[in-house]
Amino acid sequence: MDIAVETRNITKRFEKGRVVALDNVSIYVKKGEIFTLLGPSGSGKSTLLRIIDGLEEPDSGDVFIDGKCVTHVPAHKRDVCMVFQRLALFPHKNVFENVAFGLKMHKIDKNEIKKRVEETLWKVELNPEIYALRFPHQLSGGEMQRVALARALVLRPAVILFDEPLSSLDKRLRDKMRVELKQILKRFNLTAIYVTHDQEEAFVLSDRMAIINKGKILQEGTPRELYEKPQSSFIANFLGDTNIFKGVIKQMKGNLVIIELQDGICITANYTETPPISRDVLVSLKAEKIVLSDRPLFENHLEATVKEAIFVGEKIIYVVELNKELTLKVIEKNFGKTWRKGDRVLVNWLPDDIILIPE
């Protein structure tokens, strides 16, 4: 396994040690991988990125790039490039000069610079003949994005770092750019670390991701692993739209567990790995894992009343009431039959979709 970047036990404090930004953080990123750090604002994710880039030094711990320790190497001598949150395209330089900047700093031959800049502009789907002489303020949000990417790409760094570069775009363009970005990164087999607070972005982009909160890495894995197998209630809650209940284990037979939620409402779950160790558990069920119907679809089904039906275009969000104290959020795509407030329905789910989290 070829490791492109590794941090070992990075700790960083701010404001004379009173604020811990990063607490003993160790991550690794494989060559050719897109690795995402997902966390709420203030979780320390950007600080970690800046430490890897060399813009800040850790209080303790080390950074390795391509196997070499670079903890005390200044930013301009590290083989990494960053795409900044507000892009930081030099406003007084045109597109060509912006992209050529890094090469010029490294004293590359002029003809070579021209060749590589044009090559890179093509890579990010900007025609150099059209765009080379434009200035940043003459570009649209998406074009600026691409120039910022090209400026980093052209140096062929070991790793490209992204500090929420899409957060200033509007939703439509952001959706488009993130798919494009992934295609470019994959086409040229680049290694990237991407920082974001937007889980959709993390899911779409990442090969592997880590969730960071209050300066600590909570869990890492593929997007699917994190989404479907959260190891803590924080993550279960943080990712997606989740119904979480307290429950007590009543019975276990084979791989099946029967859990009582309340007032005799029981549900069945599968566990595939280790069985739960305590009787009290948290039960997590994502809203889209529930199907509404008028006749039973699976073994697990309960009667409920629709309290709210919220039309959101491509999907409809239902709030259904099992009894006075137990309501569920359900997401259905906007297809076929839709339900109205007051309708009696059956809620169905698969035992595999119930996730048990130790309380």
């Binding site: 880039d53 060399g54 813009l55 200044p74 930013a75 301009h76 001598k77 990494v80 490039c81 960053m82 900044f84 507000r86 930081a88 030099f90 406003p91 007084h92 900047f101 890094g102 700093m105 490294h106 400026r151 980093a152 140096l155």
Partner: protein
Amino acid sequence: MGKTIAKSSIFLNFACVLISAFILIPVVIIFLTSLDPAKYIRFPPSGFSLLWYEYFFSNKVWQNGLLNSVYVAVLNTIISVPCGILAAYAYRKYTFKLKNIFNTIMIIPYVTPSLLVGIALLMAFGRTILRGTYFIVAIAHALWSTSFIYILMQAALSNYDFTYEEAAKDLGANLFQMFSEVTLPLLKSAFIAAILFAFISSFGEVTMAIFLVTSKTVTLPVLLWTSLKYELHPVATVASVICIIFAIVIFMLITKFFGTGMLSKIGM
């Protein structure tokens, strides 16, 4: 807005004309007086002639004063602009222990009556080799000027995004490359404004200069002062007009080249 604008526009334009008139009174008075051929200064003027303009440009003493003023202004600019800019840059970019005290100290000369600065320097250097040199006048101006430029640059830097410098470093620029490729071009207009302000404020300064010049290094404003205070010689009005034109031209340069946007950025 629509009709609201139309109504208030008349009132506002009227108010503007009034305030502008108030503001322009001295300039107009001096200009008219300078065209009066009479042998002493008086207002309202009695005639029209360019007599005293000819006199000004053929008189050695006044020419010399003009040159001395330029020397001092240039020297002041060379001293105060780098000091003021660096101080403001350091204040914005770095965290250091004496930061707040430093900020207070930098602003003191700006609030100290300039008269006192002149006197203090006279007392300190009056009997040293510096006495009567351009250098001592420029130092006095630089004390005030540094402080002023520090304040201007603080305002300019408050809109400056240090991320550009980080991006340059990230892309492989060393300290020198970063400064010449990014910092300098981005702050160019603020730098030029600082230079122009340093120059013009030193060029017209009299209170400090009057204590520190000799007959050899006498500057135009000091000549003007002496002439007005004791002789009331009409050539003084010509010198005044030249000073004002100088100031307005430089100010126009600032607004033309860098726009009023820039002026509002540096707190103008």
